[in-house]
């Protein structure tokens, strides 16, 4: 009987850690993940002792009815936000809370939920171009500047995709991507095609600046998850510094006055 209870608890815990990983990977905030874990735990008569997210690792600790302690850790890859998947995961949480299915079926339910359609790479690229052109215009870019921004966006898309597939650190990818943007903006401005170098660089930097993690970090600090918020904020800061470092390298190669920013 005791072994059966242990297996049951471990099955639920294995599911929980995978669910948390998927939720965080697809853009959920920690508050939502915490609530989901606690509600599911209550369904299976477990007590969620702690849910800790350290930027790239999620750790969950629970106790069963006999006060035995179990814990699991899982790394959370940074693959990008998928809000449709997040919506489906949220529905899955509700389904589990309402129907209380057998623990053995939980993993299958999760895998089924994750089988959702995504936009193709070309549609995603189109989305990026539309967003970047709009932001470029907001930042004061002329029509020729917008052409350069679109060109840079396409190259940035492939650079980040290449580094993501090669599983290389985001820091390296940011430096290379922003260095390219710097080169491109300087060259196009020097040949007279582009006019507003700042608008091009700020818009393309927007592609790489982790805006949502930045807001989530501050939100976590305000919501009582200070440690997580601080870790996320440090991560965001590091990413932004690498963006600026890439641009700085480009300006050094072309001379300090190449960019009006420096």
């Amino acid at each position: 009987m005791s072994n059966k209870t242990n297996n049951r608890t471990e099955t639920v815990l294995n599911f929980l850690v995978c669910l948390c990983r998927e939720m965080l990977e697809n853009g959920a905030n920690l508050e939502r993940v915490n609530i989901s874990v606690r509600r599911i735990c209550r369904c299976y008569r477990l007590k969620a002792v702690s849910v800790f997210y350290g930027g790239s690792v999620i750790s969950i600790g629970v106790t069963d009815e006999k006060e035995n302690y179990y814990s699991r850790q899982e790394s959370v890859p940074n693959t990008g936000i998928h809000l449709y998947k997040l919506g489906k995961l949220n529905l899955l949480v509700h389904e589990i809370i309402n129907k209380n299915p057998k623990p053995d079926t939980l993993m299958d339910m999760l895998y089924e939920t994750l089988m959702v359609k995504s936009y193709s790479n070309s549609i995603q690229l189109l989305g990026y171009i539309v967003a970047m052109i709009s932001l470029g215009r907001i930042f004061g870019g002329s029509w020729t500047d917008l052409l350069v921004i679109s060109f840079n966006t396409v190259v940035l898309y492939f650079i980040t995709m290449f580094f993501s597939r090669a599983k290389l650190n985001r820091i390296i990818s940011n430096v290379v991507a922003m260095m390219f943007c710097g080169f491109s903006a300087i060259i196009f401005t020097r040949v007279g095609i582009a006019k507003n170098i700042s608008a091009i660089i700020i818009t393309n930097a927007f592609y790489l600046i982790p805006g949502i993690p930045m807001v989530n970090a501050v939100r976590n600090i305000f919501c009582g998850n200070e440690m997580n918020g601080i870790i996320e904020m440090v991560k965001v800061l590091l990413e932004v510094i690498t963006i600026v470092a890439g641009l700085y390298i480009a300006s050094l190669l072309f001379g300090a006055d190449a960019l009006s920013l420096f």
Binding site: Y84, Y128, V130, F139, I209
Partner: protein
């Protein structure tokens, strides 16, 4: 006036573009775009008569979060689903970027100015979102407690 209309249209497009990137479902893209436009309209409105950045950003974020909560309630999806594309016009990416440029180039004045503005904008944004999600969570818990009759839920 023309400039403001252009800004609103561009914000709609920016939110729409990011909604595609964030994999919002095809039928919901239009709501994500409208969210960006609504956020920009209120941002411009508050900006015109409130001088304090933290206040006008917080109020705009509150409107953005409210919009996301209402539409997500109708569509039965989590609020985050519309919140992320809707908040795009409010992200202080440029301020954050200039702050780091000031830091690396040791331009103290540039760093200080942008750091203060960026922090105010981020705090304002977070306050707006937190206030809205706090209120909607309380409303949801009360609704749930009434339906289920389970007061225990109030601990969440």
């Amino acid at each position: 006036m023309m400039g403001n209309i252009e800004l609103v249209v561009l914000s709609v497009l920016a939110s729409l573009g990011f909604a595609i990137v964030f994999q919002v479902e095809k039928k919901d893209l239009i709501f994500a775009g409208i969210g960006g436009g609504v956020t920009r309209i209120f941002y411009l409105l508050f900006l015109s008569f409130i001088p304090n950045r933290i206040v006008y950003v917080a109020l705009s974020a509150l409107i953005a979060a409210l919009f996301a909560e209402i539409v997500s309630g109708i569509k039965h999806v989590p609020a985050t689903y519309f919140m992320y594309p809707t908040m795009v016009p409010l992200i202080p990416g440029d301020l954050f970027y200039y702050m780091c440029v000031g830091l690396i180039t040791r331009n103290t004045e540039m760093f200080k100015l942008n750091a203060i503005e960026c922090t105010l904008a981020l705090v304002g944004l977070s306050v707006g979102f937190v206030v809205c999600s706090f209120v909607s969570n309380i409303m949801r818990i009360r609704k749930l407690a009434t339906i289920v009759g389970n007061a225990e839920d109030s601990e969440y």
